[in-house]
């Protein structure tokens, strides 16, 4: 699938197109090409133009923010309404009366044991995040820094697995866990293991993402370490990992969000109500035949979502630098 540059001695050149696709392949060659004396000189007209552009940006952002905030604002406002007002048509954005008690009701609802479900979710999240970060980093190193025959075939296979829809794999996967329960001493069914153990064997998306980061770390570093007699593991753990810390943070954050919101996995694999996760618990507030208490459902959703939103807000800078960091810029 990936195509190769004829000259594949230099890994950076050899990058498959997809590899470079994330943009991490973009080195800063051209930057160095700009002579010093051509650095910008600020003129009056350019700064006026700049101000005009900035104003446009502000206006654009403010205008679009309203549109993008709409779903969330609507969620918030529904969560503060009385039940009969939630179904008002057309809906009112400002609830009256305001019922903050919905949050208390959601927190103490017998349908959802918030502290217990939080604990369950955290256990799964911690184990999954740790597993994904460690294993994906190891595998990504293999895919980026060691040049061996057949590597690209494996890589293509890995990418292809991202394209198979989950529903058709679910039953087989479930049967595999069942088989392992019956035929190995490890109990799988009715535990959290089906949810977090696979994470310790790498996940395609994250391996792909990390591979892109590792490829931007100049090979001279690893090569010279190799000449100094450093083992591959040593290069990985002492040189590549520290340089890729922001990238690992991104993977951790993505994975955490994924686990926090995952619904299908826990639905299928968890057997007992006391094992439920938050995303699954939210389902208890919903109904297919009607009768959904929308205000309580939304209050519960806001409660479940807010840590993730705060996390994103705090991490967004790392996140953006993380993806973009080229390790050795400029």
């Amino acid at each position: 699938m990936p195509t190769y540059h004829p000259d594949d001695t230099d890994i950076r050149v050899e990058q498959s197109e997809l590899a470079a696709a994330v943009g991490l392949g973009a080195t800063t060659e051209t930057v160095r090409g700009v002579p010093d004396d051509q650095r910008p000189r600020h003129t009056a007209s350019s700064s006026r133009r700049k101000r005009g552009e900035k104003l446009m940006v502000y206006l654009g952002l403010a205008f679009l923010s309203i549109g993008f905030l709409l779903p969330f604002v609507w969620m918030l406002s529904t969560s503060l309404k009385t039940l009969d007002k939630t179904m008002e048509f057309p809906p009112q954005f400002i609830p009256s009366p305001v019922v903050p008690g919905n949050y208390w009701e959601a927190l103490t609802s017998p349908k959802m044991d918030f502290p217990l479900f939080t604990r369950n979710t955290l256990i799964i999240a911690v184990l999954t995040v740790a597993g994904t970060v460690i294993s994906s980093a190891i595998v990504a190193y293999g895919f980026s820094k060691i040049n061996f025959k057949g590597r690209n075939v494996f890589f293509a296979i890995m990418l292809a697995t991202m394209m198979v829809p989950f529903p058709v794999m679910m039953v087989s996967l479930f049967s595999i866990f069942r088989w392992m329960t019956d035929n190995t001493p490890i109990q799988w069914m009715g535990t959290f293991k089906p949810l977090w153990v696979p994470a310790w064997f790498g996940s395609a998306f994250n391996i792909f993402l990390l591979r892109q980061f590792f490829m931007t770390i100049p090979d001279e570093l690893s090569e010279s370490a190799r000449i100094d007699g450093c083992s591959e593991w040593g290069i990985f753990s002492r040189i590549v990992l520290p340089l890729a810390r922001p990238a690992l943070a991104v993977v951790a954050l993505f994975t955490f969000m994924g686990v926090w919101n995952d619904f299908l996995g826990p639905l299928v694999y968890l057997q007992y109500p006391e094992q439920y996760t938050l995303a699954l618990g939210l389902q208890n507030f919903q109904s297919q035949q009607g009768g959904t208490a929308w205000n309580i459902l939304m209050a519960a959703s806001v409660l479940v979502l807010s840590p993730v939103i705060i996390l994103f807000f705090l991490a967004q800078k790392t996140f953006i630098q993380g993806i973009a960091t080229t390790g050795m810029k400029g």
Binding site: V34, G67, T78, F143, V168, S172, F201
Partner: protein, 293 residues
């Protein structure tokens, strides 16, 4: 093979081993099984019965299969380019050096965090023919809006329009790409008297073309797998106007107990995505500029 090659190979495989093990147990086996099921009549609750290529033949003759496929294609034709443009535009705005970007970035990411039922409920109202916000606003400027989700012609464009709200993830990846465009290039362009549009065309776009390409590939995969929100909102209606490929696949697997048929659909889908991605790779030679070369 030389000795060094062997060392490389064993080292490489050692590093790949977690994935290789995980892949063969948790991925390869289910995938191979799903291919086998695609050659069977498999009701999920009985042993699969081998029927050769029957499922594939039935697919070719199934009008609903074709309908769902063309629906998905139609949706992708609208949602994909629009999504690419909007996400890029947003990323450019969010990349500008203005205050409060942390908040803006979070806001634009929010819709991708809101649970599907919540956004579905909201959009059902927004698209309401009579009382929905969209038609009310259109009415203010003298346009009588369409019936949106209740109409066969407008339901699909409505869903495509709605998909633009979920571009948060793509925006983040674009933002990452934009961080990599050296400032000096812009400054140089400015000195040459380039206007913002020229700067975008001649500096930004070529520099981030690898990112655009990556997002294109991901968008192809994504648009072939649209499912949750339309399933809640329209259930595929009216009269199958918004019946997506993955909905039909899901219905076959879990409502009609035709896992064999669903598996065949999955393999056809895999084939289509591979072709599209392959085409994208082939075309990328012309428009994607890699710095490394």
């Amino acid at each position: 093979m030389k000795k060094k090659d062997w060392a490389q190979l064993s080292n490489g495989l050692a590093f790949l081993s977690p994935w290789l093990i995980g892949f063969s147990v948790f991925t390869l086996l289910p995938i191979v099984l799903s291919f086998y099921y695609s050659l069977c009549d498999y009701t999920l609750l009985q042993k699969p019965l081998y029927t050769g290529l029957d499922n594939y033949r039935a697919l070719a003759a199934d009008p609903v299969f074709w309908k769902s496929l063309t629906n998905t294609g139609y949706y992708a034709l609208m949602a994909l380019p629009a999504g690419m443009l909007v996400s890029l535009g947003l990323a450019l705005l969010l990349n500008a050096d203005v205050k409060g970007q942390a908040i803006y970035r979070t806001i634009f990411f929010l819709p991708s965090l809101v649970p599907a039922v919540a956004s579905a409920m909201l959009w059902l109202w927004l698209f309401n023919a009579k009382l929905g916000l969209i038609n009310v606003l259109l009415g203010k400027i003298g346009i009588s809006g369409p019936q949106w989700l209740a109409s066969q012609e407008w339901a699909m464009p409505a869903l495509a329009l709605m998909s633009l709200w979920g571009v948060g993830n793509t925006v983040v990846i674009y933002l990452a790409g934009l961080q990599d465009v050296p400032r000096e290039l812009y400054e140089a362009a400015e000195i040459d008297g380039a206007n913002p549009w020229q700067r975008l065309r001649n500096v930004t776009l070529p520099m981030i073309s690898p990112v655009i390409f990556f997002n294109l590939v991901m968008a192809i995969i994504g648009s072939m797998q649209v499912f949750a929100v339309p399933y809640i909102m329209t259930g595929g209606g009216p009269a199958r106007a918004t019946y997506f490929y993955t909905m039909y696949l899901y219905d076959n697997a879990f409502n009609f107990l035709r896992m064999g048929y669903a598996s065949a659909m999955a393999w056809v889908q895999l084939f289509i995505i591979l072709c599209l991605t392959g085409f994208a790779f082939w075309s990328s030679k012309r428009w994607v500029h890699y710095q490394g070369k």
